[in-house]
Symmetry: C2
Subunit: 320 residues, 2 copies
């Protein structure tokens, strides 16, 4: 059993290379540029972890993990176009550096390249691997569409949660499960691992929203209140819009419309008045508890689960 860090190094040795032909450079260099920005590669490493939970590393898992990382990067390139984002990982986005049309095409060919890798998987596994990969890809597209739809309308907490699951959680869940499929895991074990990943992904998103508002700036690594300043829909804001009444409801609506200088402090105060801070903290805890329950249910020796437990603890700081 290897830790996340050990498996990260092994994956990097496979992945950190030129992925595309040299010509036309105008297309392929744009794609390679984005891969060279070096994300944390959490998803493909989770695929390796899902595999090693059940068995020795299967050689095909590197192909599946590579497909997952290419898919993730494809979706980021296209999301950045849709969101008109200038920066990603502190560098220019692909459309900023190479133009919208090339960014669109670079994403397309990256998705096609993901399937090149899936197509190298042993024929006995390929159908179930592509099935889950495709279901997930479709859900990620649905999540992005819902996210855009939600910008224009009032959203209930359940709808928002569903969107986050599609946009964020299912890819983490599927990464683990795709590895488990290649590890020969049974259906029940696969399902528990998938739910573990899904709850972990949602807990992480709740935590991210929480820290953006209530995090310690010295530990959080970025200025707090960014989501509030940009009126970004988060778990906190949606819960506050649902639960604020009277003066707080009117004041929140005014702050969102008028963007005064003291907006962050005032919104945070309303969050506290409505108990949204404790609510979010507890929501994260609930998801983590459910995640842990699913991990416990997986029928392998507990010692094999240690790396996943460590990763969960690393991703989600629990304070109880």
């Amino acid at each position: 059993m290897q830790t996340f860090e050990q498996l990260s190094k092994i994956f990097a040795a496979h992945f950190d290379r030129r992925h595309f032909p040299s010509e036309p450079a105008s297309l392929y260099d744009a794609g390679q540029y984005f891969l060279d920005l070096e994300g944390k590669r959490i998803r493909p490493v989770m695929c390796l972890m899902g595999n090693e939970l059940f068995n020795e590393i299967h050689p095909d898992v590197y192909e599946v993990a590579t497909a997952i990382e290419l898919f993730h990067n494809f979706s980021l390139i296209h999301d950045d176009i849709m969101d008109n984002a200038p920066l990603r990982r502190g560098k220019q986005t692909v459309h900023e550096k190479f133009g919208h049309a090339t960014a669109l095409l670079a994403g397309d060919m990256m998705l096609v390249t993901a399937y090149d890798h899936l197509n190298k998987v042993h024929p006995g596994y390929i159908r179930s691997i592509i099935d889950l990969f495709n279901q997930t890809a479709r859900e990620v597209c649905e999540g992005q569409q819902l996210d855009m739809d939600f910008e224009k309308k009032q959203v209930h907490l359940n709808e928002y949660l569903h969107m986050i699951e599609l946009k964020t959680s299912v890819l983490i869940a599927a990464s683990l499960r795709l590895g488990a499929i290649l590890g020969g895991a049974g259906e029940g074990n696969q399902r528990h691992l998938y739910e573990f990943g899904k709850c972990l992904g949602t807990a992480f998103q709740v935590q991210d929203d929480y820290l953006d508002a209530f995090g310690d700036p010295s530990k959080f690594g970025k200025q707090v209140g960014g989501d509030i300043r940009s009126n970004k829909k988060t778990f906190l804001l949606i819960k506050a819009l649902e639960s604020a009444t009277g003066f707080n409801a009117k004041e929140l609506s005014r702050l969102l419309n008028e963007n005064p200088d003291d907006k962050v402090e005032r919104v945070l105060q309303i969050f506290r008045d409505c108990g949204v801070d404790n609510w979010a903290f507890n929501l994260k805890e609930q998801y983590m508890t459910t995640a842990e329950r699913h991990l416990e249910e997986i029928a392998v020796l507990s010692s094999r689960k240690a790396p996943l437990n460590e990763l969960a603890a690393y991703l989600i700081k629990r304070e109880h």
Copy 2:
């Protein structure tokens, strides 16, 4: 053996239906809208023809043909975004009707859906099917990128020809060959069929360029000279830029820059002076002759080739 028209009806019976889930409608209705514009479905029907050339129709060929048509529509939706095209098949493009972000996502999910269908192919064929499909998808992306690159620079005829092969011809060639793979065709037969399709595709593009300039408006179905008016790079213009000298060279350059009212007539006169009209006509003939030679080389009874010969004759009007 069935004709193109007969196979078109059979394919339509499989394809003309709702392809996507109902929700989120904001995403899936955009994709379905484009499919409902009803193209000519030439590529998937050629896939059926490539299959029937060698054998009884294989049931999996409908999955492959569906994947091809979904891929083609995906590439059109994204090309329309890149080209900023307002109309397709006389109707609003997806980005015009549903917005750029949704059009981008609708294309993405359509590409993913294409792989759903490929993933239903019998395990004995799936790897070679996805290999050729992916190689083709990558080449179509390369062709689109080169097309955009060529807008900004001087292009030699060989480069332009290469771009057209990637953007247009290889998908027609691959459609035939994907059918042939499922028909159990040997490597040599597959290669001749592929080259037949590639030459046919290029001949069709040369003819399209020729007719836009020299076609009989009453037969061509659209106003002639559209390509000239918009300075579109075509076989004719690139050949003229390469071969015009002296006054004609200067005049052509002036006409492209100044767009005078009599631009079409004057450019056509330069085309005639340089012999570009006869050259293009002969180029089309050469490609058709090569296409026919490859079709002849395929080792099946000549009678099985009749539908492909008829289709070629229908697509390319030969006047000799």
